[in-house]
Amino acid sequence: MIKKKLCLLGILGVGKTSLIKKYVQNIFSENYLVTVGVKVDKKNIVLPDGQEVVLIIWDMEGQDDFRNFADSYLRGLSGYFVVADGTRRESLSTAKSIALTMKNMFPNAESTFLINKADLKEQWKTTEADIIELNFCNSSCYKTSAKTGENVEEAFVDIAARMAKKDHV
């Protein structure tokens, strides 16, 4: 059995907490409770190849200015999600700068873009072009919905499998 640390980053209200809650407990709530500081969750998964992984999932508070980010929260991560809200264009540009900073800080970590709230597609301000641009900074990208559960499990299992392959933290 291996344990790996995964962090979720992104500005306020993009749905980091909701995504974790959906994945770990299969619960979604419309209520918005701002995360203060950090909260840790965990999920035991068995990868398709049979390997057991315990994901230690760190839910961070959303911050518009990523530069203030507490380095101690990120220390030792093996992977991270950068989450954006498809209905808010500014969340996407912040996501890009977060991703750049993270690539510098953790060149060996696995990462994935999540563009969340896919159930509100008709309200999305994000174009396919934006998404293609995102793919340049990162290896993978999912359109997710914490509400319907679309791509949530897939995104977590995919990054977990990639993290499990690495023989360092």
């Binding site: 059995m1 291996i2 344990k3 790996k4 640390k5 500081g37 950090v38 840790v40 969750d41 965990k42 315990v54 230690i56 760190w58 507490a70 101690s72 929260y73 220390r75 030792g76 991560l77 093996s78 690495k166 023989d167 360092h168 933290v169």
Partner: protein
């Protein structure tokens, strides 16, 4: 042949011997002449030779002392770092051990004198227990336990990931995997908000009745959840364990990738931190002095006031005290109408007062000095005074030897165990039948176990259904038995193999065992 040249006529002289002897002598001569001692040959025999040379008077060690000292000196001169690095973990603990030994001896000599106070205290607790109805044991625990380490976490420092945790039996709480990272977050938070220096670490956090004691090493952090106020002993234990963890798992930590497998077995180390400390150790002196004073005072007072005690009642009291299980009268001295009785008293025995009142004697005219002792008449499993007959004990032991094995994560018996089930059922029937004849009521706990090293709900559940399965099997054999057996799942708290290293160990721990409990029918 060469030996013939040097020893002309040798064969002639040897011819009377038998062929084996001739061969031996020739071989010996060859070896003597050969003398071909090569470095390779020496290298092969040197370790053995050194061992042999050192046997008995250890002459070799003595002769090598000087050389060894000089070579160490040379090594220190050349590269002191190599040696200090190698010695660091040993020196640290050696110094601590020496100090500890000194302190322990010091405390011990002091305590021995004070131990008598304890017996007086114990009598007081007995009295309190009778007066208040609070169980005696509870009072003893309350009065003596100063702190108890309930949960120990070994945490990978950089990631905050929990490596392993151990806790005292029956302790449940939030998921340890989530507690461990939060703990490092909290410590970082405190450090940040108090603007502590980089080298200053938050090494203890107080929360309600608990203290979280934290020790940091280069790779790992050890956190102790302590009920009460831990003392230096707990801190030292934590430091020692952390040092040993680094010594043994240093290279594993260096290459840490989240893999938990290499840390199997570290639990036994962590368990060393699950200590508790009694309240008595430091504060004995005043209590002792006070109780001693009061005994002396009481002696004087009663001596002054009391008249002559009737020899008759004194004899009756001594006789009945002596007859009481767990009480031994060592000596009795009567001076000026005051009798001093020296007793050995098992804490589980009846109070001397009760014995006295049963023979209608007031203890006012007596001074009782009792020393605590453990009477063999009491066994822990049996509160009653009568010993359990050997025949029953033998059956109980036989039953305890039976183990039923189960499939992984299942209440399915592994194949080929029908015989064991039947045997357990037979012993059980015999035990219950024979118990009644001896005036004992016997019950049997069917104890379910689980493999693994985390006492979580799953472990408890699986052990519970295993115990229930065994229970059902007995019911099938003999419905009568179900009134005497009880199924209970203990999870991993009483495993057959405490430290699982191999799959075989795990197989052993997926099991059910039996525990007979004997109770005298009153």
């Amino acid at each position: 042949m060469s030996d013939e040249k040097e020893n002309p006529g040798l064969d002639e002289r040897l011819k009377d011997l038998d062929p084996q002897e001739i061969y031996n002598i020739k071989a010996l001569m060859k070896r003597m002449q050969g003398g071909n001692i090569t470095p390779v040959a020496v290298g092969k025999t040197l370790p053995e030779a050194v061992l042999i040379g050192d046997e008995g008077s250890q002459r070799l060690s003595k002769s090598m002392t000087g050389i060894t000292e000089r070579s160490i000196a040379a090594s220190v001169e050349e590269n002191p770092e190599a040696l200090t690095t190698a010695l660091f973990p040993i020196i640290g603990s050696a110094i601590r051990k020496a100090l500890e030994k000194f302190l322990a001896e010091f405390m011990d000599s002091m305590n021995r004198g004070l131990e008598k106070t304890l017996s007086v205290k114990r009598l007081q607790w007995r009295y309190e227990s009778i007066k208040t109805g609070v169980p005696y044991l509870e009072i003893v625990l309350r009065e003596t336990i100063q702190y108890r380490v309930e949960h120990v976490f070994l945490i990978h420092k950089k990631t905050g990931i929990l490596i392993k945790d151990v806790s005292i039996e029956g302790k449940t709480g939030p998921d340890s995997d989530m507690v461990a990272p939060m703990l490092s977050v909290i410590r970082d938070y405190i450090k940040d908000s108090m603007a502590l220096k980089k080298s200053e670490e938050v090494d203890s956090i107080k929360a309600g009745a608990h203290t979280i004691m934290v020790e940091d090493g280069p790779y790992a952090t050890l956190a102790l959840f302590v009920r009460g106020n831990a003392d230096i002993k707990a801190r030292t234990a934590a430091q020692e364990v952390l040092e040993t963890v680094h010594l043994r798992y240093g290279s594993v930590f260096k290459a840490f990738s989240g893999n938990m497998k290499p840390f199997d077995g570290v639990e036994s180390l962590l368990k060393r931190c699950l200590i508790s400390q009694g309240r008595q150790s430091e504060k004995k002196k005043p209590v002792y002095a006070i109780s001693l004073l009061s005994i002396i005072l009481l002696a004087f007072l009663t001596f002054g006031i009391l008249g002559i005690v009737s020899g008759q009642s004194r004899k009756a009291l001594i006789k009945s005290l002596d007859a009481e299980p767990g009480i031994v009268v060592v000596s009795s001295k009567t001076l000026f109408g005051k009798t001093k009785l020296k007793l050995l008293q098992d804490p589980r025995a009846k109070m001397a007062q009760d014995v006295a009142s049963s023979v209608k004697t007031s203890l006012l005219r007596y001074t009782l000095v009792s020393e605590p002792y453990l009477s063999p008449l009491f066994s822990d499993s049996m509160p009653a005074n009568k010993a359990v007959p050997e025949e029953l004990l033998a059956l109980g032991r036989k039953l305890a030897e039976i183990v039923l094995y189960f499939e992984q994560d299942s209440d399915e018996l592994r194949t080929g165990q029908e015989g064991a089930v039947r045997e357990a059922g037979n012993i059980l029937s015999e035990l219950i039948g024979k118990s009644a004849a001896y005036g004992f009521s016997t019950s049997v706990d069917i104890v379910g176990h689980a493999a693994g090293n985390v006492q979580d709900e799953a472990a408890l559940l699986i052990s519970d259904i295993r115990a229930k399965k065994a229970f059902a099997l007995f019911a099938e054999i003999n419905t009568h038995l179900v009134n005497y057996v009880k199924a209970l799942g203990l999870g991993i708290s009483e495993p057959l193999v405490p430290i699982e290293l191999t799959e075989e160990d795990r197989i052993k721990n997926r099991s059910v065992t039996f525990k007979a409990i004997f109770e005298q029918i009153k």
